[in-house]
């Protein structure tokens, strides 16, 4: 589902990812970890073509990402749900609208959108904040809105970048359980995180990045 073959990425002269290869099968749930600045976010960005690889090939859900035409990129992204590390919420819009926008850009029926968004709000426990502006939310609440938005369109691939950084342990548990449910329904999930508690005892595959390369790739 997500296949990297000898991918390298530079920012200016600095190398950020060096000759990365791995293959995540459809239906997998994989953790990605590594110290601050090791390239986790960059790796995720390559998956949804927010960055272009300097070398190598990336296949995502059958798309050859590096060769995608500009016009096709939106359609790749509609198949990829993303929990951004920096949230990227629309500050002046309500929680409801922030989640709904992921469906509106696809031109879905308003009633269907309403239904799906309410489900997502329930999932992340923000039903009561539905009409609050996203800029008036607490850090943890914002993070859950992002998670809701990433899930609501039932994407083929779900990427989550530090999804529990602003969450207390109980809420983090709920979120991880959500990811597992989504994964069980067939979505491929890739979670970048520093939170060792999440993956140490999970019994799932963990990819360790260090110094621009894959240090370890533990497949249980």
């Amino acid at each position: 589902m997500i296949q990297f073959s000898n991918v390298s990425k530079f920012y200016d002269e600095q190398i950020v990812l060096k000759d990365i290869s791995f293959n995540i099968e459809k239906g997998d749930l994989v953790y990605l970890t590594g110290p601050s600045g090791s390239g986790k976010t960059t790796l995720l960005k390559l998956v949804y073509r927010a960055e272009h690889p300097d070398d190598g090939q990336i296949l995502v859900a059958g798309w050859d990402v590096a060769k995608l035409r500009q016009k096709t990129i939106p359609f790749l992204r509609r198949n990829v749900g993303i929990v951004f590390q920096d949230f990227r919420l629309l500050p002046n819009k309500t929680v409801f609208d922030n989640i709904a926008i992921a469906l509106r850009i696809q031109g879905l029926d308003p009633r269907l959108i309403n239904e799906k968004v309410n489900d997502a709000l329930n999932d992340v426990g923000l039903k009561h904040k539905s009409h609050a502006l996203s800029q008036h939310l607490s850090g943890g609440e914002q993070q859950r809105v992002v998670i809701g938005r990433a899930m609501v369109s039932k994407p083929t691939v779900l990427l989550a970048d530090e999804p529990t950084g602003n969450l207390d342990v109980e809420t983090a548990d709920i979120v991880i359980k959500l990811f597992k449910e989504i994964n069980a329904r067939g979505t491929t999930v890739l979670i970048a995180t520093h939170n060792r508690e999440l993956f140490m005892t999970s019994g799932r595959r963990v990819i360790f990045l260090r110094d621009s390369a894959i240090e370890k790739d533990i497949i249980p």
Partner: protein, 294 residues
């Protein structure tokens, strides 16, 4: 279609959210359009005045003494064939004398002492306004003077060239000023939409990352531009009309003789103002949103 409706919704929400900038833009564009259309109205008025003056000027063709009726008739026929000549009036020497008497008024007694009428018969011509370039009229006068039986041709040479200069100056200014104002309006539209676009740059970045297509992103801005331009157009059309009515009122109060002399732009022009505004704004928006790259 659903996407279009949603775009409209976003556009109008944005119009409300950014109401101050949008209001300022609408006002700026309105003022710009108003300036331009006021200028057109002024030009139209000056042109009308010049036309009125222009047609008042003509040519007098003095005939030789003692010409036969046939010769006079043939000259008349020749002049009639000239399509540049609008009106042709025969003034017999008797009529000319009567006119001179009127001009001299109480002093006309000097004419009584004369044996014969010394004034020649003449044709008074009115020329088509479009042909009023000094060189052209000079040539025409020379040609007419060569006709047999014609003794002299007189016309307001100096006046003609002055009026002509005014007219040319007006037209040149019209083009220069018109172009300048158009450019200014285009800039305002473009820069405002650009700025609205910039202000929502983060939002647009996010939408792009969520899989929004180009048209989904651009559409609200285009609708917004269309709306801003259209509203500005309506405002300036209404203001122009109000200003025209007000000016006419004030002028008539001040100079009653002007009543009925000030002309307004035709109705078509008033209808064209909002359409032109909307199209200009739309074009501005189109370029301002630019090429969206993923």
């Amino acid at each position: 279609m659903r996407a279009f409706l949603y775009s409209c919704q976003i556009a109008f929400k944005n119009l409300v959210v950014e109401r101050w900038i949008n209001l300022l833009t609408i006002l700026s564009i309105s003022v710009g359009l108003l300036l331009f259309t006021s200028y057109l109205t002024i030009t139209l008025n000056i042109d009308t005045v010049i036309k009125r003056w222009g047609t008042g000027f003509g040519m007098v063709v003095y005939l030789g003494d003692g010409l036969s009726m046939e010769t006079e008739e043939s000259i008349k026929e020749l002049l009639k064939q000239d399509s540049d000549i609008l009106e042709l009036k025969y003034v017999s020497s008797d009529e000319a004398l009567k006119e001179l008497r009127e001009v001299l008024g109480s002093r006309s007694s000097i004419l009584d002492s004369m044996e014969a009428n010394p004034l020649p018969s003449s044709f008074e011509l009115k020329l088509k306004r479009e042909t009023l370039t000094p060189i052209y009229i000079e040539k025409k006068a020379a040609r007419i003077k060569e006709m047999t039986g014609v003794e002299d041709v007189q016309y307001g040479e100096k006046w003609l060239s002055s009026l002509n200069t005014i007219s040319v100056v007006m037209r040149v200014i019209a083009v220069l000023l018109g172009a300048a104002i158009f450019i200014a309006i285009a800039f305002i539209t473009y820069s405002t939409i650009k700025v609205l676009f910039y202000r929502r740059k983060d939002e647009i970045e996010t939408l792009k990352l969520l899989g929004a297509t180009r048209s989904f992103i651009k559409m609200p801005f285009l609708i917004e531009g269309l709306f801003i331009g259209g509203v500005s157009g309506v405002i300036s059309a209404l203001s122009l009309f109000g200003l025209y009515k007000f000016t006419v009122m004030k002028f008539v109060e001040f100079l009653p003789s002007i009543r009925g002399l000030l002309v307004s732009l035709p109705l078509e022009a008033y209808i064209a103002i909002p359409i032109a505004g909307a199209l200009m704004s739309l074009t501005g928006s189109f370029f301002a949103t630019g090429r969206i790259r993923y």
